[in-house]
Subunit: 478 residues, 2 copies
């Protein structure tokens, strides 16, 4: 255990050096955060499929409870119950066009995590850093519960719980709880909690801030630990994962053609999935029905709800007592919290922005073809927190509605979302028709096996893992 | 799957080249032996403890269901539900005295398995090859169900089911089913089934042959597959292992001070263990009581029996409806098969030779301080199949009793056994008194974790494992 403590201090020092400006000390957030015995209690998973390039190397790290898929390197780091998903890593020889220049990848892209501490964090690699095409890098970074690192290279960053960094490159930034940032390159910034910020330089900028009297109810830091309704929500459901993680090979209890239901997802009550559905590991489906092509990504909770089809619930999305039409996007970490007597109905083709909280105090009806954001509890709140996609597309220049500010071309903003939703559906295999080209994540992970990795059980190395490397077979051996 | 087939043919060719003399074709024995789906169904285990040097490297191999402990390398091989136990590997810097010369080990000893096919085979590394001190080598070898490779370097060998090679060095040998060979260096030999042969050049030679009309009842090859009562015995109990191997972290259901009960052992009925007991993985204890310091090694079955204490059941020993006094040794693969109405009682300090079959047709009473061998079903059979240790010690020169022939010094033979039993008890921690020096295998494996390794799940590589390496942490990282 002594060595694990030394490693934590090493990471704290590395990260704090990067965060001299903005001045942040990550020490109190990570020291004692994970109960010491938990480091040796949980085991890590490395996925083996026939379609993802294999390469896994870690040394001097603790990786308990973490999933890895694709090419990954981990050095001097603590990853705890995180997901490191490398299914969209770029391949050697592929061409990336950036500012009109074609750049050829000289090696397979690899996720590299160094001197970092990621706690229950999701890393998905669809990377957008044209300067480092072969490495998806996370270094000198601390990221806390349910943070989301999505296609974002990070150096010297601190992410509070439920923070999402999306399609960005960040250097020396501190991002507050429940903030969503998709803003190209950022450095030496401090992002306040509850900020939703989408910026495409030269095209548009969307800004929303959760009211300061509201957010702490859902998530706040108290003595450097996260508390609030969002944390309570997870705590209540933790127990349901226990039996799943106690079995080496668990069985999917539901299935359909072209669908993939992870053996490491919780399936409770009466559930059904239709063709080409993806239910990822660590997602939670209770008494719900997922229509064709729908997906429940990592850390999603779908409870007492129905999805008509081709509905996307992005990482960390929670949908309770809701009925969704077709083609609906529920963004990262959104909390669509209907009640038994206050269901939420969402019409087809609508977009729930990332980090939206819809906490129904009465039945809610969100129309078709609209976009919603912010904090909504009553039907009347929609007036200041939604627009039809048509209205949004017509925005040019500056626009304000309630706490939301927009500047630029609404049509480009809506197009960007539509394009991304289509990409997600395609990548996840929603349109699979039996051909190789239409295969997505759902079909590619139907046949998967897991290497289950455990740490030193006792002594000064307790909780650390031996150095471990997994490589594909040499072609010359075959 | 195609690649796995290619690997099997590769091994067959390598082994057959070695077995030109004696002429053996191992192909029919291994082709189709393991159902093809089983290769991808089971997972392998690499043990991590704080006391065993770590190093694990395999490539181009299938290692389903196999356990590894200590430093091991596996190349181009198929190991299936085997145990590769490196807990007595010699360490760098230690001195081995051979023929009066002190030889210093320049590296840690490592188990190296190449171009071999081991099926349900136990490998224990207490090696005795002074010519290759740093490598415990198994190459170009096929070994079948429940064979026992014990401290024996092998090149180009074929072991039939239940064959034991003990403390020897063998080159290009074929060893028949249920043969026990402890005979120094052997090359280009064919050992017939049911031969028990213990030879210490210049000191003694013990020889016994099972009657040809008896052995096939217990084990014989039919169409290159093993059949008989010994195989049936295992088949009946296979089901009991299923729940154990379906859980990542199973719980020991019985425990005692200084004792280690593997979570991968079957414990059924009412069982108890006393202090410093070792129950190894893949052993099976049903409705039995193990007194202090006793051990049940890998593939042991102890059913409806009691052990007073410091009793050793060597690898593959089976003891049913028996009552053992103190300090009793039941050798490799012995079948001490009492019945509910025909119990077997064994007096203290007695030795059941390796590969003894005691299949009681009436209650049997084996006295204290004696040695038994061969095939025994009735009390009167003891006359030709046992001697008191005192009588045995007094043998000088040639001696014959029934089918047993002995030549040399009986006292040396008895001493060698006594010495070995003491060594086994000590190594397994039977005399542990809380001090570091008295720790043995039981205490050293109380804190153990397992890396659980799975193969490619589908496609042409199905059943093969990616290349995998585990190494200890670099001291400079700590």
């Amino acid at each position: 255990m002594e060595q694990l403590n030394k490693l934590i201090e090493h990471i704290v020092n590395r990260v704090n050096i990067n965060l001299r400006e903005p001045l942040v000390d990550v020490g109190p957030f990570v020291r004692g955060l994970i109960p010491r015995d938990s480091f040796s209690l949980y085991y890590a998973f490395y996925s083996i499929t026939t379609t993802h390039p294999l390469k896994f190397h870690f040394r001097h790290s603790s990786v308990g409870g973490t999933y890895f898929l694709g090419k990954c390197e981990v050095d001097h780091s603590i990853l705890y119950k995180s997901d490191i998903r490398g299914d969209e890593l770029k391949r050697k020889g592929s061409i990336v066009n950036c500012n009109g220049k074609d750049i050829k990848l000289r090696d397979d892209e690899i996720i590299s995590i160094r001197d970092s501490y990621l706690m229950k964090t999701l890393v998905h690699n669809k990377s957008h850093d044209p300067e480092n095409l072969e490495t998806f890098k996370i270094a000198n970074t601390v990221s806390l519960n349910y943070a989301n690192i999505h296609g974002t290279s990070l150096e010297g960053c601190f992410l509070e719980p439920f923070a999402s960094l999306d399609l960005s490159v960040c250097h020396d930034c501190a991002v507050g709880a429940f903030s969503y940032v998709q803003a190209g390159e950022l450095s030496h910034k401090r992002i306040k909690p509850g900020r939703v910020w989408v910026k495409s330089p030269g095209l548009f900028e969307f800004k929303y801030h959760f009211p300061e009297e509201i957010l702490p109810d859902y998530i706040r830091m108290e003595n450097h630990r996260p508390v609030g309704k969002l944390i309570d929500f997870f705590e209540d459901k933790k127990e349901d994962f226990v039996p799943i993680y106690s079995a080496v090979q668990t069985e999917n209890t539901i299935e359909a053609e072209g669908a993939a239901v992870s053996p490491y997802a919780v399936i409770k009550g009466v559930c059904s999935v239709d063709k080409n559905v993806l239910v990822a590991q660590r997602s939670y489906i209770d008494n719900s029905k997922l229509g064709p092509g729908s997906n429940a990504q990592e850390n999603c909770y779908i409870i007492n709800s129905t999805y008509e089809g081709y509905d996307v619930t992005a990482h960390g999305g929670k949908v309770i007592y809701s009925n969704l039409g077709k083609n609906i996007f529920v963004g990262f970490n959104s909390f669509v919290n209907g009640k038994e007597d206050a269901r939420i109905k969402i019409g087809s083709n609508s977009i729930v922005m990332p980090h939206t909280i819809i906490d129904a105090q009465e039945p809610l009806d969100i129309p078709e073809n609209c976009i919603v954001w912010g904090y909504i509890t009553k039907q009347e709140d929609l007036e200041l927190h939604s627009l039809s996609l048509e209205e949004f597309s017509s925005i040019k220049g500056q626009f304000q509605l309630g706490d939301m500010k927009f500047e630029g071309l609404g049509a480009k903003f809506v197009d960007a979302f539509r394009h991304r939703i289509a990409h997600i559906l395609e990548e996840n295999g929603a349109f699979y028709n039996g051909t190789e080209e239409t295969k997505g994540h759902a079909q590619k992970t139907q046949d998967i096996s897991f290497n289950i990795l455990q740490p030193y059980p006792e002594g000064i190395l307790k909780g650390l893992y031996p150095e471990l490397a997994i490589n594909p077979l040499e072609p010359s051996d075959l």
